[in-house]
């Protein structure tokens, strides 16, 4: 069957990498197209995501799906091998709740506490600590948020699992420390060492250099978007 699957993404974006993890976990083949998100968005991107004009965009047989959490659910429902979400409705609700928590609360606070400036950064730093504490509590006793293997919440938490460490190195600030968050740090290490995930992480040196150099551009870009 002529199935067309294309992913519009950005190499350093945790959001588009989430989609790649999900597709690779399911063994699904796709064509990848790199977007120049800061300077020159492609005609395809603008056509397929006119509302937000962002990546990732998954285009399946010409039909676009956008927003990483929505895309992950679509992938799970379309390719049924190696399920990402649990089957039980209550477990699924818990997964969706924690995915939203990680994405809408943790990631922005962590980003601001690392890439922000002045009093806003201080406030974000405190907030990030509280949120990481909550996350640590949710993880206790489990290898992954998904249980014995990587699942929906783990994938959505990729920012915490890898990007936080990279940003910490780039800006010389520590947030996710082992003394304060031993369970989360262990999880992050397990996450990064998972075969599919390990192969799919953007190269660390390149990322550190990128965030260091681009800090100015990114900070202004996100300031204007907020």
């Amino acid at each position: 069957m002529g199935e067309e699957l294309k992913l519009l993404g950005v190499w350093g974006s945790p959001y588009s990498r989430r989609v790649e993890i999900a597709l690779k976990l399911k063994g699904v083949k796709y064509e990848y197209s790199e977007e120049d998100i800061f300077h020159n968005k492609s005609a395809s991107l603008l056509k397929y995501n006119p509302v937000h004009k962002k990546v990732p965009v998954l285009v399946h047989n010409g039909k676009p799906i956008v927003e990483s959490q929505v895309i992950l659910e679509y992938i799970d429902e379309t390719w049924k091998d190696n399920p990402i979400l649990p089957r039980d409705p209550y477990e699924r609700a818990m997964a969706r709740f924690w995915a939203k928590f990680v994405d809408e609360k943790c990631a922005p606070a962590l980003w601001k506490s690392l890439m922000g400036a002045g009093p806003e950064r201080e406030k974000a730093h405190e907030e990030a600590h509280e949120l990481l504490n909550t996350l640590e509590g949710e993880l206790k006793g489990k290898k992954f948020f998904g249980g014995e293997s990587v699942g929906f919440v783990d994938i959505m938490a990729n920012f915490v699992g890898y990007w936080v460490g990279v940003l910490e190195e780039a800006v010389g600030v520590d947030v996710l420390t082992e003394d304060k968050f031993p369970v989360l740090c262990k999880w992050a290490e397990e996450f990064r060492n998972c075969p599919v995930i390990k192969e799919n992480l953007p190269p660390r040196d390149r990322m550190v250099a990128y965030f260091r150099d681009q800090r100015e551009t990114i900070t202004t870009f996100y300031k204007n978007k907020a």
Partner: protein, 219 residues
């Protein structure tokens, strides 16, 4: 074993309304508990320690939080009747996308339209109307966002429709003048018992918002 279902809610909440409508669509019997948000109950704090917010669905003692998560949970648990999400993955992805859009845009913009004045309010009104038009275009010529049948996306937005009167009165504009199809959609939804019995009177809601503004010292 009889199901024990409780909804911790706050009557003016558009997020709570989503859960009420979803439960009504499925014909689920439940206990409704109205919370005083300025004096949250021990039950609320215990059931949602992370966010300390309503709505919370408690099913046989186990809490589910976040309104859209609750609606999907309701759809999957009482799956024998009135499916809320479409069955095809693409249709489901579209519904989830637009529900996420509604969450990202309308609550904050609506708050600004209702609670601010002058330039800030005008800017909010402009973006609010733009967002409404975008949503209206998704409706197209179908009776509901779900197509021929009332569903997940209709449920996601109906609580905001209930606030249209408040936004119009506070912002001094007519939503029907800019988005007639959306208003017609709202009226059509209100003809359904699951909706009309779950939503408060728009005028009562406006009165409540005025009281809040007064208490906060906003003219």
């Amino acid at each position: 074993m009889a199901d024990q279902v409780t909804l911790l809610d706050f009557w003016p909440s558009m997020f709570g309304m989503r859960c009420r409508v979803a439960l009504a669509e499925k014909g689920v019997e439940y206990e409704y508990k109205d919370e005083d948000l300025w004096n949250k109950s021990e039950l609320l704090l215990r059931m949602n320690p992370v966010h300390k917010k309503i709505p919370i669905l408690v099913h046989n003692g186990k809490p589910v939080c976040e309104s859209l998560v609750i609606v999907e949970y309701i759809d999957e648990t009482w799956s024998h009747k009135a499916p809320l999400l479409p069955s095809d993955p693409y249709g489901r992805a579209r519904a989830r996308f637009w529900a996420d859009f509604i969450d990202k845009k309308f609550y904050n913009l609506g708050q600004k339209v209702a609670m601010t004045k002058g330039e800030e309010q005008e800017a909010a009104k402009k973006e609010f109307i733009q967002s409404l038009k975008l949503l209206e275009s998704e409706l197209g010529d179908e009776p509901f966002f779900g197509g021929k049948k009332f569903g997940f996306l209709d449920i996601s937005f109906i609580g905001f429709y209930c606030r249209f009167y408040t936004y119009e009165m506070c912002g001094n504009f007519s939503i029907e003048a800019v988005c007639p199809k959306l208003v017609a959609w709202g009226k059509r939804c209100m003809e359904k018992e699951s909706v009309s019995k779950s939503l408060p009177d728009p005028q009562k809601l406006y009165g409540f918002v005025l009281e809040v503004k007064k208490a906060m010292g906003i003219e």
